[in-house]
């Protein structure tokens, strides 16, 4: 009990556990140079998988949703067929290239009909019907179905790969990080809010934003700091950073401080999703979540390189997704997943959580466009990372390593 009453303040020494990662200042070129961005597109993004939704969104055969992949500007159509399989297609009619299904989501009786000339495709993408077919010159329906896009499902999340031949399988892409975090009740948080915003900054800066808590006492003095710095952790240090290949996890130390008045109402009178307190839902967390098994754990940031991370506690999680739009432009999406509310009081608890997350991220994002301007104007050419900014240093290390390897591949291909 005494041990629990006086939590240890996390020390330094995270970076030293990964000797392959340098400790010096890093060059900021990859945060703004168009040439670096162009290389990242080939060497990183076209070789990655991207989360586009949850299987619950297409629970029944015929259910579908559409989406335009922001980074690639590709139209996609995701549906469930009568065998229960999740399919993803390029949402492009093979007649003349119009979008086949224009609705955002819905239910199909079995055919997706292009609203241009009426060509119709079935739930497996097959070209089922050509209107006034006799006027064509022998179009072979069997080989003019919707073009499939590589698709996979992990823990109920639907992922697609923008390349026809994936560089690696979804399973290999998710790797140890995926294996170690499977088993969390991802599907229990059936309710979600989502917002998006375009930010004039490089995609890596968006990832950096929640990936260190060195800033917590300064940038979040009234919101996050009172819990994350409680009981002597005045520098806001992490419990740990675990690196797994290209992916990484930050574990956050936190002690329940004195909640603010409306937080108190939400936490104690409206039992619902909480973003600070650990609850006991009667399951064992998988080993990749709270990896240090600290009693002072509240939240992990589980990052899947390059573009999605989950801020995850025992009872809820938030997906942070960034879609690169250029060397200094990104689309950020935040989707807060919470457990279903039964009563009207619990609905208030959900709203409190959503507003808190949104406003804390708005605090974080105050820095992004300012940093990007300093990068674009050459006013900063190096970043200095603290030991507890290891996640940022690791991202820099991974990107520069991949780009160097890409250069070698290109050189040997030419040479």
């Amino acid at each position: 009990m005494n041990e629990l009453a006086t939590p240890p303040v996390p020390g330094i020494g995270l970076t030293a556990r990964y000797p392959e990662i340098d400790t010096g200042p890093v060059d900021t070129a990859i945060y703004h140079e168009p040439a670096a961005y162009a290389k990242e597109m080939e060497a990183i993004f076209k070789r990655s998988w991207f989360m586009v939704g949850r299987t619950e969104q297409i629970a029944r055969a015929g259910d579908f949703f559409t989406y335009t992949l922001p980074t690639f500007r590709q139209e996609i159509l995701v549906c469930r067929d009568r065998d229960g399989h999740v399919n993803a297609f390029h949402n492009v009619c093979t007649h003349r290239g119009n979008v086949v299904e224009h609705r955002k989501e819905g239910h199909s009786q079995g055919l997706f009909m292009c609203r241009f000339h009426g060509w119709a495709f079935d739930l497996k993408g097959g070209l089922a019907r050509i209107r006034d077919e006799e006027g064509f010159f022998g179009v072979d329906k069997s080989c003019n179905g919707l073009k499939r896009m590589p698709v996979g499902v992990w823990q109920g999340f639907i992922w697609v790969c923008p390349s026809d031949e994936p560089y690696q399988s979804l399973e290999d892409f998710l790797g140890e990080q995926g294996r170690d975090t499977a088993g969390y009740p991802w599907g229990a948080c059936t309710q979600s809010y989502q917002f998006e915003v375009e930010v004039d900054c490089n995609w890596k800066l968006v990832n950096d934003s929640p990936a260190e808590v060195y800033h917590i006492p300064v940038l979040h003095p009234n919101s996050a700091a009172p819990t994350m710095m409680a009981s002597g952790n005045i520098m806001g240090r992490l419990l740990g950073t675990e690196i797994k290949g290209h992916h990484r996890t930050n574990s956050h130390y936190s002690v329940m401080g004195e909640p603010k008045p409306v937080q108190k109402l939400a936490y104690f009178h409206a039992a619902a999703a909480q973003n600070v307190a650990v609850d006991d839902k009667g399951y064992e967390l998988p080993k990749g979540i709270n990896p240090t098994r600290s009693p002072w754990w509240t939240v992990d940031l589980i990052q899947f390189f390059p573009t999605i991370g989950f801020t995850l506690s025992a009872g809820m999680y938030t997906a942070h997704q960034v879609w690169p739009l250029g060397p200094n432009k990104s689309l950020y999406q935040q989707r807060v997943f919470v457990r279903p509310a039964k009563t009207a009081a619990e609905r208030f608890g959900q709203e409190n959580t959503m507003v808190e997350f949104r406003d804390v991220v708005m605090e974080d994002f105050s820095t992004l466009e300012r940093i990007q301007r300093a990068l674009d104007t050459g006013q900063i050419k190096q970043f200095h990372y603290h030991d507890h900014e290891l996640a940022l240093r690791h991202q820099h290390h991974v990107v520069t390593t991949i780009l160097a390897e890409w250069d070698r591949e290109q050189a040997s291909a030419q040479g």
């Binding site: 059936t190 959900q350 808190e356």
Partner: protein, 115 residues
Amino acid sequence: MTTLPPDFADLERFVPDWVHADAPARMAKRQGSTIADIKAFYQAMLPRGEAVLACLRGHQLGDLPAEVETLLRLMLMLAEVAPAVEWYDDPAVYDGFPVGRICYTRLISDTGAQA
């Protein structure tokens, strides 16, 4: 004619301005209000919070009487304005990214049953 359950008649004066249909509308209301107006609402609501939630605990989503729905929407507005009062002393996130640039793409119904 009251729009709230009888026990909460004292909050009736806030209904015209502070009950909104969804989260984007609540966010816009906070951003478009003065901090003085927000505080007046917050300070009247906060001491009634426990009683309001005790009432709301007795009602299942998907089956809310109209006056309970209105009471819930007042509480959802309280959640929206809480950081303005408790964290920033300003409707906006202090020194923050302009929240008006965000766009909601997926909402949880205020009143519908959840599964």
